[in-house]
């Protein structure tokens, strides 16, 4: 870029072009949707299976997988942040959105005993918020659709026993996380957007 005396028009055009360049192109976040989609799908189906078809007394053991998910998410997220050449305000918002939802989900599950382990409807509601807002931020319809699916399933889950809530959760992450996650991944692979 050469140094030269700017006219007002040139100044304005330069400002507009630079702001246009930094306009957000969304990064491929499919990794996290796929990671958590599979973890929750496996954990909830295992929980359902152990509780329904076996006499095993601790079916919730399957949820230990979420600890692994938390560690992997932390490492991958930190690495992505460190390697990113530019960090937009929307990246920051996106990170805080999911961090806050994660904390809220953890709080609900940690205190689950106090609400007779009826945690799933609340988890579905929070997942719906994160998915729908992420979809709106990215302008990505499959995630917004997933958000609505979570909310409908939460309505149903409030009326089901804990075991069947697990099936609803598995169904929820399949259409709310996994389907949009794979579409997002394919979009990035094919078009880079």
């Amino acid at each position: 870029m050469e140094e030269k005396e700017l006219t007002p028009q040139e100044s304005m055009a330069l400002i507009q072009s630079m702001i246009g360049k930094s306009r957000k192109r969304y990064s491929d976040n499919s990794f996290f949707f796929l990671l958590w989609g599979w973890i929750v799908l496996i954990a909830s189906l295992t929980h359902f299976y152990l509780a329904t078809y076996t006499t095993y007394e601790q079916p919730y053991i399957a949820w230990s997988l979420t600890v692994v998910g938390g560690v992997i998410s932390g490492i991958v997220g930190a690495r992505q942040g460190k390697n990113a050449k530019v960090r937009n305000y929307s990246d920051k918002m996106y990170g805080w959105l999911w961090f806050s939802l994660g904390m809220a989900m953890f709080t609900i599950v940690f205190n689950g005993q106090l609400i007779n382990w009826n945690t799933v409807p609340f988890i579905l509601l929070l997942a719906g918020v994160g998915t729908a807002v992420s979809g709106a931020m990215m302008g990505f319809k499959p995630l917004q659709f997933g958000g609505f699916a979570f909310w409908i399933l939460a309505f149903i889950a409030f009326r089901q026993p804990e075991n069947y809530q697990m099936l609803l959760l598995a169904f929820g992450v399949a259409i709310g996380y996994l389907v949009p996650g794979y579409i997002m991944k394919a979009n990035f692979r094919n078009n880079g957007v």
Binding site: M1, E3, L6, P8, L14, M18, I19, D91
Partner: protein
């Protein structure tokens, strides 16, 4: 009409480009700014120092393994200066 009242720190092509870029992001690293402004490392480095000395941007230098990584972000003072600059430019552009 002259440009005497305009902030001389911003009324320079490369510094204005840098500020316009930083104004819309949380942080950006040196390589990204260099690519987007199509500038040379030497010139960009000098202009970033000027903006930093004026308190318009904050520069953080870190090491990623053995590679240095310079990250820049605009400060409150920089945002205010940029806003004023844009307002003044708009005055000139008024028919």
């Amino acid at each position: 009409m002259g440009f005497n009242q305009l902030d001389p720190l911003l009324h320079s092509q490369l510094r204005l480009a840098v500020m316009s870029l930083l104004i819309s992001v949380a942080t950006a690293d040196f390589v990204y700014i260099k690519e987007q402004t199509e500038s040379t490392a030497g010139n960009l480095s000098v202009q970033l120092d000027k903006l930093s000395t004026a308190g318009y941007i904050e520069i953080t230098k870190q090491f990623e393994g053995k590679k240095p990584k310079t990250t820049c972000k605009v400060t409150k003072k920089g945002v205010d200066a940029f806003d004023n600059y844009v307002k003044e430019i708009q005055q000139y552009l008024k028919p």
